[in-house]
């Protein structure tokens, strides 16, 4: 049986941020039981900064993936960086600007005239005037009751129809949403009901009805500045997050638990503090450890009952998972990560990025360097697109992601690696555009202390100074890698980097 495709619905701002962390995890080379991941972004706030960041990172990821793995068999290169294919996100974005307000959208003022007087009364019962007059261009601002009406239009969209046409028998669906906001809380139940509706007239409706569906529901993990809500500058009030969560969980328990096959819950009592921006380009919340755990739920779901093609093949109709850490600490590092494969991949990927950002350019310019000559790289390789894409992913996306995860505004930071090598953190924190590259300085000694709390083994003594030599390791294995005859310079270079970094980590770390 071929591997399934995963249709990943990322709803709202949290959905996009989880997708961003997932892309980073996939870049580390974690093995996934999927042919490809097809992100489906649902957000009415089309200018949302988090969505834009997500688009950019996936675009850069794909530039690298496609250059390396174009024409490569699915089972080859498993575990290598950037191995899993992520398709460019399909955006089911119904622009709130087109609808104006909920009142406009349902033609409220003409309901009486059309003979829908009772409907109008019911509408009045369910929606306050504030709900009815809320502009929809920035999402549902914590009002899932509004979202549940507006998002129904997603199902009518062309992109959704294309998705149903492409859906095959053993494909899986995963839905990422927050439970305490507006868009996510409204979108998750709506999608589940659509997929499981046996009377539905969707294309491939039978496949969709029987598909294995998973979801991660992100419980409150941040709070926003309440003053802005009180002064009317923002419509987001984080003091209602818990109440909304309780209500939504009760609803899920009553109505959804039989519809979803694997449900993950993640949340945190230690909360981050964000600026209160109710959507738009300004909404660029920093990456958060909880989003990373939600992203790891996606990987877990792909491994969940691997051999099951439909929900009827599952041993349990529904299973519920929670994420936990052993120690309630404010700083989470690699030692707290239980999944060994993930820990190793993160470590490998970090050393890879340090090489790309700080040493690779000099290596590519060194005409006498053995590995560079074994691979017959041109003298201007450092100016070519592939190297530029690698460098961009490292300095614009990866390091920024690490900086964001370790920001002081998180009461629980994820600090797997020493971020002191990143010298323009303040500038990065202020950069709303998200395109400013992170500058790093890494000396020979620093290479031993890149991992928080886990120094690399150092055999230095009075007579001998030990050092971590990337180019020496790469040169040592270059001939062997070239002999694999991949037929593509980029694939060969990428394999060389993967194997070389792996050897360095095996020599220096015991995890």
């Amino acid at each position: 049986m071929s591997k399934p495709k995963l249709y990943l619905f990322a709803i709202g701002g949290t959905g996009s941020r989880v997708l961003r962390s997932l892309t980073m995890l996939l870049a580390t080379g974690v093995k996934t039981n999927t042919e490809k991941i097809i992100p489906m972004i649902i957000d009415t706030d089309i200018n949302n900064g988090d969505v834009e960041k997500c688009r950019n990172i996936i675009k850069n990821y794909n530039e690298i993936h496609d250059t390396i793995y174009n024409g490569v068999r699915e089972d080859e290169g498993q575990g290598e960086f950037f191995r899993t294919k992520i398709m460019p996100p399909r955006e089911l974005n119904i622009s709130g600007t087109d609808y104006g307000t909920l009142r406009d959208m349902v033609s409220y003022n003409s309901l009486d005239g059309k003979g829908f007087g009772k409907t109008k009364s019911l509408f009045d019962l369910l929606y306050s005037d504030a709900n009815k007059d809320m502009p929809l261009e920035k999402g549902f601002l914590g009002n899932p009751n509004v979202g549940s009406v507006v998002l129904k239009n997603v199902v009518e969209s062309q992109v959704f129809k294309e998705f149903t046409q492409d859906f095959s028998q053993n494909d899986r669906i995963f839905i990422v949403s927050s439970i305490f906001g507006g868009t996510g809380a409204a979108g998750f139940p709506l999608l589940l009901n659509v997929f499981r509706d046996e009377m539905s007239k969707l294309n491939n409706g039978n496949f969709l009805n029987n598909a294995i569906i998973g979801g991660v529901s992100v419980l409150p993990y941040f709070q926003v500045d309440v003053d802005k809500f009180n002064s009317g500058e923002s419509a987001i009030n984080s003091s209602t997050f818990i109440t909304k969560t309780k209500a939504a969980l009760a609803y899920y328990n009553r109505n959804l638990k039989q519809l979803v096959n694997a449900m993950y819950y993640v949340g945190d009592t230690r909360q981050s503090s964000y600026e209160n921006n109710d959507g738009g380009v300004e909404q660029k919340n920093p990456s958060n450890f909880i989003e990373l755990t939600a992203a790891s739920a996606v990987l877990d779901f792909l491994d969940y009952e691997k051999n099951a093609a439909t929900k009827d093949d599952l041993q349990n109709v529904s299973k519920f998972f929670e994420f936990g850490i052993d120690l309630d600490t404010g700083v989470v590092d690699l030692n707290h990560v239980k999944r060994d494969s993930l820990k190793e991949q993160l470590l490998h990927f970090h050393y890879y990025n340090v090489y790309v950002s700080n040493f690779m350019k000099d290596a590519l310019k060194n005409e006498k360097l053995a590995w560079r000559n074994e691979l017959k790289l041109s003298s201007n390789y450092h100016t070519q697109n592939f190297y530029k894409a690698l460098k961009k992913f490292t300095s614009v996306h990866y390091y920024r992601w690490l900086i964001e995860l370790s920001m002081d505004q998180h009461d629980r930071k994820f600090l797997p690696f020493d971020v002191s090598i990143m010298i323009n953190k303040e500038e990065i924190a202020k950069d709303v555009s998200g395109v400013l590259p992170v500058n790093t300085v890494v000396g020979a000694k620093k290479l031993f202390t890149l991992v928080t709390g886990v120094p690399a083994s150092d055999t230095s003594n009075f007579f001998k100074k030990d050092s971590i030599k990337y180019d020496e390791e790469l040169s040592k294995i270059a001939q062997e890698v070239v002999a694999l005859q991949y037929g593509s310079t980029e694939r060969t270079l990428h394999t060389l980097l993967n194997k070389g970094i792996q050897n360095i980590i095996e020599e220096r770390y015991v995890l």
Binding site: E367, K368, L369, A370, N373, E472, S475, K476, Q479
Partner: protein, 128 residues
Amino acid sequence: MENFYFLFEDLENWDIWEEVGYSAGFIILITTSLLINLIYYIFLGRKSMRYSTMGKWFLFGVINFMLVFLITIAVEGVTIFNLSFGDFFPKLWIFTIINAIYGFVLYALLSIVFKRFSIYSKFIPVKF
């Protein structure tokens, strides 16, 4: 052998030069240059990248030059011409300098052969 040392024209002790002098110098030249190439490309060049630069390669050429010079003057002076310490035999000095220069040239030529057996210095001094 005197053809190989065409840069050197001796008028004294011709027999000795012809019988042993040239051959001894040539053997010293070959052995030392082979040894230095062996050390540079096989021993060090497969062990560490530390020496894989043009500067280090040149340094080993200079070491070869000096070794050839020292061994030639010692062996030729003491063993072949039975000179005692302090004697000045200008022809021997000229021969030794020429042998040392040949040493550097031979080191460079042998590098082309030996470099392929190295890992880290495979593209030193030239890329092909």
